[in-house]
């Protein structure tokens, strides 16, 4: 696994502050951010920091992971509807009991992976359960 500082640097807004782009024409969000709207094709977009608060739609418990993520396995991945209305998939952390669909979640800053050769650490966004109550 190769973690390269330029790649982490140019990606800082996406991973460190969950930044999306919002279309000035149709209002749709694009995440990860792009300088174009993936709904209507308009290039008039502005960056917008997402709240990092949302609701868990559903989740999976992944046993078979990727090289570099073995120490985290098994991993919960949640499909989350952020309060801005867009859906993203993210790892869930600090899960003590089985997550419930409808639970409220929030973004937290965590270690993603470590380069096995040079020891560089990549950080990014994961989510934790704020209250784990079923809502439908």
């Amino acid at each position: 696994m190769k973690i390269l500082p330029p790649k982490i640097w140019r990606n800082k807004e996406t991973q460190y502050s969950l930044t999306a782009t919002q279309c000035q024409s149709c209002g749709a969000y694009t995440f990860p951010p792009r300088h174009v709207c993936n709904k209507c094709g308009s290039f008039k977009v502005t960056k917008k920091k997402l709240s990092g608060k949302g609701t868990l739609i559903t989740f999976t418990y992944t046993h078979q992971v990727r090289t570099g993520f073995e120490r985290d396995a098994p991993i919960y991945f949640g499909l989350i509807r952020l309060d801005e209305g867009i859906e993203i998939v993210a790892p869930l952390v600090d899960v003590d009991e089985e997550p419930k669909e409808g639970a409220r979640v929030e973004a937290v800053f965590r270690k993603l992976r470590v380069d096995s050769h040079n020891g560089l650490i990549e950080y990014g966004t994961k989510f934790r359960l704020i209250d784990n109550e079923q809502r439908n």
Binding site: M1, N11, T14, Q15, F31, P32, N38, I57, T58, F59, T60, Y61, T62, H63, Q64, V65, R66, T67, G68, F69, E70, D72, I75, F77, L79, E87, I88, V89, A90, P91, L112, R113, E122, G124, T125, K126
Partner: protein
């Protein structure tokens, strides 16, 4: 405008080929067309391959294959993840239709079996967006698992619904001479198999392996040089959409022009049982019930990715070769009844892009 015909097809058994590299496999598949390409010299060679940079540390493979064959012709590679095969067919069809080429040799080749599972998961995750999904450690199976949970909720089906797919695919593959997993399996074994990403189990996933397949497409004039019954490529359509959890828009749009075609059999890209269900739902099967009808509807008589095996970006070339063999009555496996028209749906593993190909004889 010229008409386009499949003039010959050759496939290798999907398997683990420890003794052979990717060029060996490509040449092995092409050697099955030795007679055809001695009569019709290909004007263009197209390689369908998705993962060679990561699996074999190789680029410029299309030139290496062409020059190995002594073909001094344009040689290009198409890459669209698992849909590389479909995109190669689309490209070849366009060259022939336009008259730029009179014959195109397509070869699909992929090596997936050299790696431990987690490493291969990392390579396949290159299909995800680089800056977010890849970095957070997502796997393709995690994504498909979320789609499966939404599907279960939307249609009120349980895991047993999805078990229909591997059950039928293994049944089909048990007759396929070229299948990687040539055995039948009972539903109990499927439903108790190892959990990969809950609720996806081992039998819901594709059997990753090595493979190569080759096809010679020609215009009508050259096709007449061969006495075998002719198989016409009616058309090739494609679409791209992006991630969608609840539907496969690219598949739906690429299928739209075929809605009155009524193929007698069809080959789809069943990377996961849920993706098989979602593809069938988009191409006219009853939504939420498509997997209940597969035995009668002649879907994936090869056994699909599930059991014929999954050779990455070469898969679409296998699908077209199998459809050709069905239409010419030369398929060494379960034969389609009333095989007059066949269709192929070539997609990436999560259905973001799709190519649809219609054949008739």
């Amino acid at each position: 405008m010229s008409e386009v015909f499949v003039t010959g097809a050759s496939i290798l058994k999907v398997d683990r080929y420890y003794e052979n590299n990717i060029i060996d496999l490509a040449i092995g598949a092409i050697s099955g067309l030795a007679e055809e390409i001695s009569i019709v010299h290909p004007d263009i060679l197209i390689l369908a391959n998705a993962y060679s940079e990561s699996t074999t540390e190789q680029v410029l493979l299309s030139e290496k294959i062409a020059s190995s064959l002594g073909l001094r012709v344009p040689a290009i590679r198409t890459e669209q993840g698992d849909a590389s095969g479909g995109s190669a067919i689309f490209t070849a069809y366009s060259f022939l239709k336009s008259g730029i080429a009179k014959s195109v040799l397509i070869v699909g080749a992929e090596k997936l079996s050299d790696f431990p599972t987690n490493h291969l998961n990392d390579i396949l995750a290159e299909n995800l967006d680089e800056e977010y999904s890849y970095r957070i450690g997502m796997t393709q199976s995690s994504y498909a698992a979320l789609q499966m949970k939404l599907y279960m909720k939307t249609y009120g089906v349980g895991y047993d619904y999805f078990a229909e797919w591997p059950y039928q695919m293994h049944k089909n593959a048990s007759e396929n001479h070229y299948a990687y997993l040539k055995f039948q399996v009972d539903k109990d074994t499927i439903m108790k198999s190892q959990i990969i990403s809950d609720p996806i189990r081992l039998f819901d996933t594709a059997a990753r392996a090595d493979g190569a397949a080759a096809i010679l497409l020609t215009n009508g004039e050259l096709a007449r040089k061969f006495s075998e019954s002719k198989v016409k490529v009616e058309n090739v359509y494609g679409s791209s959409f992006g991630y969608s959890m609840r539907e496969l828009v690219a598949v739906r749009e690429a299928w739209l022009p075929w809605r009155d075609f009524k193929p007698n059999f069809i080959e789809i890209h069943d990377s996961y049982s849920v993706i098989a269900a979602m593809i069938l739902d988009e191409i006219g099967f009853e939504r939420g019930k498509s997997l209940y009808n597969i035995a009668d509807s002649q879907v994936n008589l090869s056994g699909g990715l599930k059991a014929r095996g999954y050779p990455g970006g070469a898969t679409g070339v296998y699908q077209l070769a199998e459809a050709y063999m069905q239409l010419t009555g030369t398929f060494k496996g379960k034969r389609a009844k009333n095989a007059e028209r066949g269709a192929v749906v070539s997609t990436d593993d999560l259905g973001k892009v799709a190519y649809t190909i219609g054949l008739s004889r």
